[in-house]
Amino acid sequence: MGVRVGVDLVTVADVAESVAEHGDRYLSRVYTEAELADCRTGDRVDATRLAARFAAKEATIKVLREFVPWSSIEVRRSPAGWVEIGLHGRAADSARAGGLSEFALSLTHEGGLASAVVVASYAPASRDGA
C-alpha cells in the first residue's frame, strides 16, 4: 500500500474569461450540476470557486495518471465546508483499475490563483494473486 499525490494551480482570471466568452457551454462541459450549484451566488457563478474545482480535477488526473473527462471528477462540498473528491464513469473506472482509493482533497486560493492537492491510497494488483 502506498500513496499517490497530485497538485495543480489555476489562474482565476483565465476561468473568468472562459465563463465570459463561452458561458454555459464552458460550464456544462467541465463542471457537474452539483459543482455549479456550489459555485453560484445569486445569478452569478464564482470564478474563484470554479478555478479551485478545475485545479482539483487536474490534480486528480495526475493521481490517476490517465486523462479522463473533467466532468467525471466532481468536487463535493459538505455542509460544514469541507470538500472531497467524487469519481464517476471513466474516472471511477480508472481509479478501480489502477488500485486507487480513499481520495482526499484540499483546496486553497489567494492572489488570483487557486490550487488543489489530491492524495489517494494506492494498492497495485499483485501479479501472483497473493
Partner: protein, 82 residues
Amino acid sequence: MKDRIRAVLADQGRLPLPVESIDDADDLYAAGMTSHASINVMLGLENAFDVEFPDRMLNRSVFSSVDSIAAALNELCSESIA
C-alpha cells in the same frame, strides 16, 4: 484544416509564442498551453468546424498537437457524414 486549427489556437490557446512557430507534431502543452486553455481551444474548434467533441474525446491528449486535433476532427467529420 490545419490552418483553421492554427487560427483557433492563436485565438484561444494563450500560447506564449507565435502559433506559426509550432510544428504540426509539436506538443502544445510543452509549448506553454495550459490544460485550462485547451478547453477554450476545444470550444473554439467546435465553433469553427461546427462539431461537438463527445465525452470520450474530452481529455488532454486529444488537444496535445495540431496533428492530434486534426485526427480528432477528421474522425468527427467522418462520423457526421456516415
